[in-house]
């Protein structure tokens, strides 16, 4: 089943910084469909955002930039260091960059929580306009549909 409009609207609300709307839409999503569609959309979104931020001239940047980015997300509030495990977060990004990191020991719920926060952080830093965010959402929807295959 391909990604639905509701799933796209839900993730877009998060990335646009509309937390309340995101929470409301998330509560309305069909749970079973979200397990594949929303999860694929999230994975495609993080993959795209990680590539935009950490691939330069076709190469992955130095690991220190990943360490610094994860720290920057965890610095954003007193509760953030508890929400994001830096080891998990760095490995999720390095895994997407094909830098040899394994994520097999991270349970799916924890992985999704980390992916959401990291994606929101990356998109927040890139300060996309409304239209740029729409283009981003279109792109990752296509990628996610391919993932679901």
């Amino acid at each position: 089943m391909p990604v639905t409009d509701d799933q796209v609207a839900t993730l877009r609300a998060l990335l646009a910084g509309h937390r309340e709307e995101h929470r409301r839409l998330l509560g309305q999503l069909d749970r079973e469909a979200a397990n594949t569609g929303y999860a694929a959309l999230l994975a495609a979104g993080l993959f795209e955002a990680v590539e935009r931020r950490f691939i330069r001239d076709g190469k992955a940047v130095d690991r220190s930039e990943v360490i610094s980015f994860v720290a920057s997300v965890r610095e954003r509030g007193d509760e953030m260091p508890d929400l994001i495990n830096p080891d998990f977060a760095e490995r999720i990004i390095l895994h997407m960059l094909d830098q040899g990191a394994s994520i097999s020991d991270i349970d799916p719920d924890t992985a999704i929580q980390h992916q959401l926060i990291l994606l929101a952080g990356l998109i927040g830093d890139s300060q996309l306009s409304e239209s740029e965010l729409d283009v981003f959402m279109q792109k990752i929807r296509v990628d996610a549909d391919e993932l679901i295959g």
Partner: protein, 164 residues
């Protein structure tokens, strides 16, 4: 390790001074001596612990945010480059939080003695490098560390006596 019978000796203070000036290599000749018995090792380890606590308190006093602790550990790991994994960030942040009496991390902090010692040593040397002491400043720091460690050991002795 039982610290209740430990006293800070002159040789421990000399070793700390060498460590702060030259880094962990200065302790290599002490390895054999530290393995003599637990009490000897505890003399050195307690002073190292005291130095970590005093350096951390100085760095983050009088006010701090947990974000600053996160950033310090990240900066240290970035500086270590390929050796970044020597420092477990949760263990390192937890130790700094304890040193400055910040609320502990709610996330599970791994129980790993080697990683704890690595964090203690590397953070201490990072903070000493940052402080850039002159000769008088270093001596003042060592005096403060010695007094702090003696107080800490006295508290351990009181705890041990209360249990008897």
């Amino acid at each position: 390790m039982d610290f209740s019978a430990v006293k800070v000796k002159e040789e421990n203070i000399l070793a700390l001074r060498s460590f702060l000036l030259e880094g962990p290599e200065a302790w290599a000749p002490l390895q054999e001596e530290m393995q003599r018995d637990d009490e000897t090792a505890a003399g050195y380890m307690s002073l190292l612990f005291g130095a970590f606590e005093v350096a951390a308190r100085r760095r983050f006093a009088p006010t701090y945010t947990v974000g600053q602790i996160v950033r310090l550990v990240a900066d240290l790991r970035m500086r270590l480059g390929e050796d970044a994994d020597l420092i477990n960030p949760l263990i390192a942040e937890d130790m700094l939080r304890r040193a400055v009496d910040a609320p502990p991390l709610k996330a599970g902090v791994p129980d790993d003695l080697t990683a704890t010692l690595n964090a203690e040593v590397y953070i201490l040397l990072y903070l000493i490098g940052e402080a850039d002491f002159d000769r008088a400043g270093l001596e003042q720091f060592i005096e403060e560390v010695t007094a702090y460690t003696e107080q800490w050991l006295a508290a351990r002795r009181s705890e041990a006596a209360a249990l008897r």
